[in-house]
């Protein structure tokens, strides 16, 4: 089991409430996935690059990191620390130098992009949300996951969402059966996964297809051809939000759409307190059918 929630806002006025709404949805899915939780949130863009980094010893690791990066890049670097994670904001041109310094210090990069920030940890969704102050975050869309691990260890890196490309993220309920074979194919293309987790393979697959020029819909269609196993995927990009289920469709999924938002939940419970849900169009996404929205 696992729980997935997602929210894609169509109007500006709900943006400040995105984190609050997603947090409630995430906590509702606790009994589907109590071992880890994570969220990718697409917030305001500043024209600069955002790198979300993680460390198991944040106090020591993050101390003075912004100054060291600013010196290495010869440019201003902002750092916002949230528990074990920090979001670095720096000029796009400094990405390679920043990544080199972070790698040198053994600091993990969880995600990068102009809009997306990503936070995930081991623990109950309620506690993870509180540690990262998810409720206070605003944005245009976001995806969350509560994990009950089956295929790999319960670790921060094994938690979802997985981000394997700029402003791209993926969460998964299910288990893939051809991920080892696909891992080799993707590594040859330069999109090799960093962990032994099956879901990361799916994220890398989507990133590789997008890099080859596919749009989000085409990349999601591709999962039906090339990935084997059980899956409900929810995927975020800088301006898009997509959903696809495998043809057997054992893993549950419910969607709701109003004039204000598109919402995804593993169960209706996750959607039950959204504004206007009483009159929303609520449906179960069809098996082997791609749904995506872009702005």
């Amino acid at each position: 089991m696992c729980g997935i929630v997602g929210l894609f806002l169509k109007k500006e006025d709900l943006r400040p409430r995105l984190g609050d709404m997603l947090t409630d949805m995430l906590i509702t899915m606790t009994d589907r996935g109590p071992d880890s939780a994570g969220i990718a949130i697409y917030g305001d863009e500043t024209g600069k690059l955002k790198l979300t980094i993680q460390s198991d010893s944040p106090r020591a690791t993050f101390a003075g990191l912004d100054a060291a990066l600013a010196e290495a890049l010869d440019a201003p670097v902002e750092m916002r620390v949230l528990d074990t994670h920090a979001v670095l904001t720096l000029p796009q041109a400094g990405e390679a130098a920043a990544r080199a310094l972070l790698a040198e210090r053994g600091i993990r990069v969880m995600g990068a992009g102009h809009s997306m920030e990503i936070f995930k940890e081991v623990g109950l969704p309620r506690d993870v949300a509180a540690r990262f102050h998810l409720r206070e975050m605003g944005g245009s869309h976001g995806i969350g996951h509560t994990r009950m691990a089956t295929e790999s260890a319960v670790t921060t890196l094994g938690a979802h969402p997985f981000s394997t490309g700029a402003d791209q993220c993926l969460v998964h309920n299910g288990s893939l059966s051809n991920h080892n074979q696909m891992r080799r194919v993707l590594a040859e293309k330069g999109f090799g996964p960093q962990t032994q987790n099956d879901t990361e393979v799916a994220a890398c697959y989507i990133s590789s297809r997008l890099a080859e020029g596919a749009n989000l819909g085409e990349a999601l269609e591709g999962t039906l051809e090339d990935l084997d196993g059980f899956f409900t995927f929810v995927v975020g990009t800088r301006n898009g939000f997509g959903v696809v289920r495998d043809p057997i469709a054992c893993k549950p999924a419910v969607m709701a759409e109003t004039e204000d938002y598109v919402a995804f939940g593993s169960e209706y419970r996750a959607l039950a307190n959204l504004p206007g849900i009483e009159t929303a169009r609520v449906w179960e996404p069809e098996p082997a059918t791609v749904y995506f929205w872009e702005r």
Binding site: I248, A249, C250, P252, V282, P287
Partner: protein, 227 residues
Amino acid sequence: MQTIDLATTPLRELNAALQAQAGTTNQTRWEILNPKGAHAIAVGLDAPVEVTIKGSTGYYCAGMNKQATIRVAGSAGPGVAENMMSGTVVIEGDASQYAGATGHGGLLVVQGNASSRCGISMKGIDIVVFGNIGHMSAFMAQSGNLVVLGDAGDALGDSLYEARLFVRGSVKSLGSDCVEKEMRPEHLDILRDLLERAGADARPEEFRRYGSARKLYNFHVDHAGAY
């Protein structure tokens, strides 16, 4: 009328109160507010009571029902009316996967669509769906009737035993050992009765009947090489 609000009453208390009506009761009408997709609402009932749930339910609503009439004024999550023995369950909206699975008796009416695996392994339950049903419906269905006013998805009635399947619309594909069969007068009678009891607006003559070809019942020597 007994009204129970799930915003203030724990689910176990609700189910204990409903299950305590087994046998004879004067409290025959119940209304449940704020279900908000909760699991296992109104399960294990065994009394001729009428229960209306005002909103959408989660997994396993009305499971193992005996005698009771349970109406969901919303949509139902996976496994609604699973293993029903008798009584009636009506879903005013859609039903998620495996609605009415393994049911032994009673009537399940889905006024919207039912998704995949509707009536899987049904053992005597009658199911009437006003809309469409998803793939692998009536898989290994043993007895009872599945009536679909709309269309059926892939692999309808795969490995079917003796359940009767009636579909008014199209069937995307038939499962292994499921075939179209002749509609005889006794089938039209069964269908007429079920449509009337479900309150469905359709005529028996509009349906086609599907059933088991009974080729999987016994070992066939010509297939020996396949094992």
